[in-house]
Structures are given as C-alpha cells and as structure tokens.
Symmetry: D5
Subunit: 96 residues, 10 copies
C-alpha cells in the first residue's frame, strides 16, 4: 500500500553539530535498510530545501506510523502523509 | 531532470459529461504515450480526490511547461510543480 | 485499516432541489449498506454545517478511493482523508 | 454530548526526557480512567504524527473544558474542538 | 450551554432581490422568536460586513444544529461555531 | 461603543509559575473592576483553550487601546479586535 | 474616531459595463460628499489593484457601518476594517 | 511617492526592558525627525496591538528601504509595504 | 524604479475563445511596445502555469498603476506587486 | 535553465553580531563569484525586508540544489524556488 511522505528537517539555529551528524548517519543507515527491503520505495530531494519527497510501500497504516515515528531525525521533522493508490491508466502493471 | 507534479482536476457542477469523457480519453492517450517514453515516469492517484501525484523526467523547464500546459484536461486543472533531484543516500544508482 | 474522512457538501445556490433530494436518498441508502457492513464504521454530523466526520474501516487505500469517489453526493463534496491507527493506550482491544 | 477533539503534542527540542516520560505516564493513566468511564469514548493515532483524533462524550461544555485543560500533557498541546451530533441516517440507535 | 456563532451572509451578484427580501423578513421573524425565548441570547452586527456575532444558549449540540441549519438565510451563510463556557472570574453569577 | 475582543494567552514552556500566578491574580482584579464598571461587558471562556471571547463597551478607540494594552497578561497575549454595532432586529433596546 | 478601511472591488467577468459605470459614478459622488465633510478623510489607490486604502473619521461604529454598507459599489466589494487611534509620538496635535 | 507601511513590533518574552526603552526612545526621535521632514507623513496606532499603520512619502524605493531597515526597532519588527498612488476622485489636489 | 510584478491569468471555463485570442494578441502587442521601451524590463513564464514573473522599470507608482490596469488581459488577472531596489553586492552597476 | 529564487534571512534576536558579519561577508564573496560566472544572473532587494529576489541560470536541478544549500547564510534562510522558462512574446532572443 502506497503513501506519499514529505519530510522537512528543521535544525534549530545553534543545534549541536556533532549530534546532528550522528542523527544523519543513523538516518541514512535506517533509510538504506528500508530502501533495500522495498519499503521506502522512492526518495527525492526537494531542490533548495532540507526536505524530501518519498513513496512508502507498507502493509498497513500501523506499520507506516511505526516506521516514520522511529526515524532518527523524526524529532526535528515536520511530516505530511498522503494515501495513494495505483492509477488505472498506468501501462506498468507493477508501477509502485 | 525530475519534477513532482501534482494535478487536481476541478469539474464544474453541470459540466457537459460527454465533453468530459472526451477530455479524459484524450488525457489517457497522451499520458500513456508519455509514460511509454519515460517522460511521465510515475503517476499515483490521491485517495478520495480527483487528483494525482506524478514524477516527470524532462530535459529542461521549457519542455515541462509545454507538456503540462497542452494536457487535454489542463483547462480544468490546478497544477503544483516542485523541482526534485536525486537523493545522495539512495542505493539505486538509477532511481528516478 | 482506519481512516478519518471529513466530508463537506457544497450545494450551489439555485441547484435543482429535486435532483438534490434524489442524490441525498441515494447517499443515505449507500451509507446504510456500508454502515451495516462495518466499512463506514462511524458517522457524526458537524454542528451547524452540511458536513460529517466519519471513520472508515477498509482493507486498503484502493478500496477507500473506490468507496469515496462513487458516493452519490461526491460531485458536490470536498473530502479530507487522514490515515489513523489504533492507540496503544486504549483499554478496548477492538476499539475501531 | 459529542465532540471531536484533535490534540497535537509539540515537544520542544531539548525538552527534559524524564519529565516527558512522567507526563506521558500520567496522561495514559488519566486517559484510561476517562475511557473506562465512557467519557473519552474513542481515540485514534494520526499516522506519522504525535497527534490523536478523539471523541468525547460529556454532559456539557464546561465539563469538556475542565477535562481537556487538566490533561497532564495539556501545556505541550495544540487542541482543536468541534461540536458533533448524531447523524439521522445512522442505523445504530446508540452510535456514539 | 453557550456557543459563539458567527454568520456571514454571501449574496451572489445578481441574486433575485424580492427573494432576498422574503428570506430576510423570515430570518428576522425567526430571530425574534428565538431571542424572546432566550435561545439566541445576543446578536451584534460586524461593522462594514453582512455578518453577525451571536451567542446561543441551548440545551445541547443537536438543538443548536437544528436551529442553525433551518434559518431562512442558511443556504447563503458561512457559519463558524465555537463552544464557550462561563468564565470563573465573572462577578455576575448568571452572565450568559 | 461595542467591540468583540478575543484574547489567547500563550504561556511559554518553562515560564516561571510564580510569576504567572501573580499576573493571573492581577488580571483577575483588573477584569473585575472593568466588569463592575460595565466596560468589560461580557466574558466567556473558549472550551479547551486558554482564551476568552469578550465584549467591551467603551467611549472610543483610544480608550479601548489603553485598556487592552495595559492588561497584566497582555505581554503573553494575542488579541483580535472586531468593531460591532447594535443589530436592528434586536427586540432588546439596550442589548449590549 | 479613526478607522483604516480597505476596499477591494471584484467585478465578475461579463458584468454589465453600463451598470458598472453607473455604480462608479454614484460611488464617486458619494465619496466626494464624504470627503468634503471630512468623514472619508483619506483615500489612496493600491498600485495595480482595483482597491483602495482609506481612513474614515466617524463619531462611532454604527455610523461607520451605515456609511460603508450603503456605498454604491458595496455589493461588489470585500471590505476590511481596522480601528485606529492617534499615535502618542506624533508631533501634529491634529494628525488624523 | 506614497507607500502604506504596516509595522508590528514583537518583543520576545523576557527581553531586557532597559534595552527596549532605549530602542523606543531612539525610534521616537527618528520618527519625529522624519515626520517633521514630511517623509513619515502619517502614523496611526492599531487598537489593541503593538503595531502601527503609516504612510511614507519618499523619492524612490531605495530611499524607503534605507529608512525602514535602519529604524531602531527594526530588528524586532515585521513590516508589510504596499505601494500607493493618488486616487483620481479625490477633491484635494495635494492629498498625500 | 524596479518592481516585481507577478500575473496569473484565470480564464473561466467556457470563456469565448475568439475573445480570448483577441485579448492575447492585444496583450502581446502592448507587452512588446513596453519591452522595447525598457519599461517591461524582464518577463519569464512560470512553468506549468498561465502566469508570468516580470520586472518593471518605471518612473513612479502612478505610472506602474496605469500600465498594469490597462493591460488587455487585466480583467482576467490576479496581480501581485513587490517594490524592489538595487542590491549593494551587485557587481553590475546597471543591473536592472 | 532559469529559476526564481526568493530568500528571506531570519536573524534570531540576540544572534552573535560578529558571526553574522562573517557570514554576510562570505555570502557576498560567494554571490559575486556566482554573479561573475553568470549563474546568479539577477538579484534585487525586497524593499523593507532582509530578503532578495534572484534569478538563477543553471544546467540542472541538482546544480541549483548544491548552490543554494551551501550558501553561507543558508542556515538562517527561508528559500522559495519557482522554475521559469523563456516567454514566447519576448523580443530579446537572449533574455535571461
């Protein structure tokens, strides 16, 4: 089941840079695990922002909640979630 | 070059249904040509709305303008465009 | 899987009253079928508005899209959808 | 009398974690008392947010004010309240 | 039980003036009945707008819904409702 | 001359509680003086918020400015002011 | 007593031009009477808009309501009103 | 050349009061110089706010930028600027 | 003197196409005259919209008002105007 | 390829002034390099704000992202980006 997930990272002015690098490294590792598993299906950077647009493919809402709220950078994030579904005009039977 | 394109279709109450079906058929044909060409790279329906979230892969801004503004349903659409780029953490070298 | 669905019905000034009554009767019949099936799990009126707050319990996003967009009053509606999940503090194991 | 109550919890960056855990434990205890009493009739988590959607069933406005503003997490919350009433199409005579 | 009710009347350009006068006369009669009954406890005009700010005193939410949605001018209105309660600092024991 | 005055009190997380209690006591005393004088004609709490809706009856704009901006809690408040006037349909000649 | 009044004139596409010219002529005459009387104390055009920013000097709120809502172009206007008062730093004792 | 300039002063909770008084005194002196010169042509307080509505009369945009951004209170201000011009209906040839 | 002018053209559904083409031809001619004169200094299309971002170089506000409000497509436009000035870091002494 | 880039600089109250001057000097140097290279094609100050409107001319989205997010003042900025393209009515073949 597909969801558009948009994440903005808001780093407060004066935030500890070492702590931030730790969080970013942990975030990257978590992301790559989820990407390899096919759960975090797509990610793109938003030009000029510390933000991404992502597509998640999950079994249900509860799983999505657990994944998003345990991301290492989650305490610094604003998150917007939009449920999606396959488009009937698509010529790719497995376009996710 | 990648762009998120979000399209909302607003059909006025009382709009001619035959005309609408023609526009939708023409839109579907145009979409499938662009999808086959790899230009309209992804499309998803937004649940509960007459809206989609799409990813376009185009050579430049001018080409995107030409594609969007000549869509058959364009006169009934609100369109929001966001420039994207590849995310450096992605493990898929060709993730578009 | 649970979703909050908020529906506002916007009747244009001068809309044909007979047509509106037909749509409302068809909407009511559809609602009661879905309520009996446990799909449209809750509905409440918003005080002073032609709006409701509903809880849907569906198998997946695609099913929710199909249900909402085929409602008889859908062409007159604004719809807002929010994915929900069970709250871990709840003392009711089946609180949906 | 029914109200939709939407609560967003905003934890400032750097907030004392021990204090937060105390508030959350106290909030959970209060919630479960009110849920057992039938006052906090429903609660759902909003996917991806530290937010809930709740339905309260109270005798009057003043009682609702007292309940909400004395919640342990209230000082960290944004709250939106919407008065509701029973929907006439409902087939469940006691659907609250 | 008290509610602030704010009503904006939006008359479409070209609306039939005779019909409007009928609705306004019916609205005035209904208002005065409710004011005499103590239900529509206060009304003030918003300066420069076709809008009012009102205080309703009703037994419950369902009664308020019935009163507001059957007002003669309701089809031309935008309505915003806010639940209120007595302020503990008030020196007037019956200030409603 | 009547004005609707809406006040939201925003207490920063970690604000000194003793200082807050002093401000609230001073605010209450000032309010009761103004209520006794008929200037702060009505006050209601907004359910679930640290906010009130008030009606002021003052001789002119300058007097209202002086009253509002010298309230003890004013430095923590957001204030919205709307000029009102008597409604011609009112059956109470002195409804203020 | 001073108020900032901001007026936007919204002429629907296809509005009768002769009717519009009549309304504009009547508006101009009314404006010049009020300007001569010192009531409509200032008026400026907003660059690039069919809008003005005005300062009214009136005896009370009710008088302002009567003046604004009887302007010939009022049915096509959006109006925003802000109560003002003299600024204590002003070196002009009669700056209105 | 005329501009409407709207200034909101936002004093952070806990801001040094002595520093604030210095800034206000410097602001007042600067204002009175500019008012005497005819540049800061009008100023009014917004009732109930730490805000003003002003009319500036300057030779060009660059001069306005220099004046506004060097005001002593500018670091605490939100500023909104709207270009204005003379209204053709005005009966005062020099109404600025 | 420089201004950013953003224009959105809103063509109502069902608008007469011949009339629209006439307006667009007249708009183009007017634009090219103003561009040749150096007044309409820059114009860019906004990708995917019937909108442009322009830079005007005019002698004063009144001239800008006259130019914008007499554009052939003005009755179908929403216009937003922002006063600009030269940036002191620019290495081009005549960058307009 | 052209983009409108709007940058607002938000300096927190009490920010270290020496640090700010360093960032501004570094920003100016970077800007002048990019302006000399033709990449940062235009820049204008927004009157009365610590903001600019700029036009960037870059090879692709990824390059724009890299340029913007490494600006020395970027951590204090809000940035809004809008893709542009050449306007077909322009009489300047190289108007960028």
């Amino acid at each position: 089941m597909l969801f558009k997930v948009e994440m903005d990272v808001n780093v407060p002015v004066g935030y500890d840079q070492e702590r931030l690098e730790e969080l970013k490294a942990a975030e990257k590792a978590r992301f790559q695990d989820l990407q390899a598993a096919g759960t975090w299906r797509h990610i793109w950077r938003v030009v000029g922002q510390y933000s991404n647009v992502s597509i998640f493919d999950v079994s249900d809402n509860a799983r999505l909640h657990e994944l998003i709220t345990t991301l290492p950078l989650y305490p610094l994030m604003d998150v917007r979630i939009t449920p999606l579904c396959r488009h009937p005009s698509s010529i790719h039977p497995d376009d996710r």
